[in-house]
Symmetry: C2
């Protein structure tokens, strides 16, 4: 759990003025949330922050994405945008039973493609779909 000061420093470092709202949102996404949507963040804020408007949630998310502190994703099973504090390149596993998204390290995956050479690939995004057999509940 990173403290507010550390979070504020990360914001400033990325060129984002560290306001109370921004610190709260970024801290929540980094420390507590797991691939949240704007709605989840708003719900959390309603419980844990004196007062925050929906517009601020969206403004902040857009600013954090632009600053490179968050990455936004759209997945085929959802019409909402999802935010990820893991900004280094990675893939995802979508559990089709629970809807849970899990980050997958690209080092665990190898892709060999024989596309025609007119295709200049700058990025490969993989979505694994399936289910996850956790040991026992």
């Amino acid at each position: 759990m990173l403290d507010a000061k550390t979070i504020a420093a990360k914001l400033e470092e990325a060129g984002v003025q560290a306001t109370a709202q921004r610190i709260a949102i970024y801290q929540y996404i980094v420390c507590e949330a797991d691939h949240p949507t704007a709605e989840e963040i708003k719900d959390w804020a309603d419980q844990n922050f004196p007062k925050m408007s929906l517009a601020t949630v969206y403004n902040t998310l857009n600013i954090l994405v632009a600053a490179g502190l968050l990455k936004d994703y759209r997945f085929p099973n959802m019409s909402k945008v999802i935010y990820d504090s893991n900004v280094v390149h990675h893939h995802h596993f979508l559990d089709d039973e629970t809807g849970q998204l899990i980050d997958i390290d690209p080092d665990v995956v190898e892709v060999t493609s024989k596309l025609k050479k007119e295709f200049h690939i700058s990025q490969i995004q993989i979505l694994f779909r399936g289910t996850r057999q956790t040991v026992r509940k």
Copy 2:
């Protein structure tokens, strides 16, 4: 270019009653369109069909997807759903310069993943992103 009769037969075969609107939409997607959105289909219908409501466009698309005749996709660069008449499993290349989507045959791609065995993968969806150097315009 498949004729209306063939298209109607495909609809019936999939358990979908072949109405004029459904035939027109499915024929357009199969024969002419390239990964269209609902909006593109509506625009086409406004030019090429006596009268079709937007609700019918959406109803029809949902019915065709449910019947397995179309597949719907959401891509990270767009907030609209995209429809694909190619319903056999394949990947996509997204040209980040033109926004064009190109189907990629899974046989051209090999993926080896060493995920923990609790992950039961039923499908792998790959999005290649980059640009395409076509020979000369």
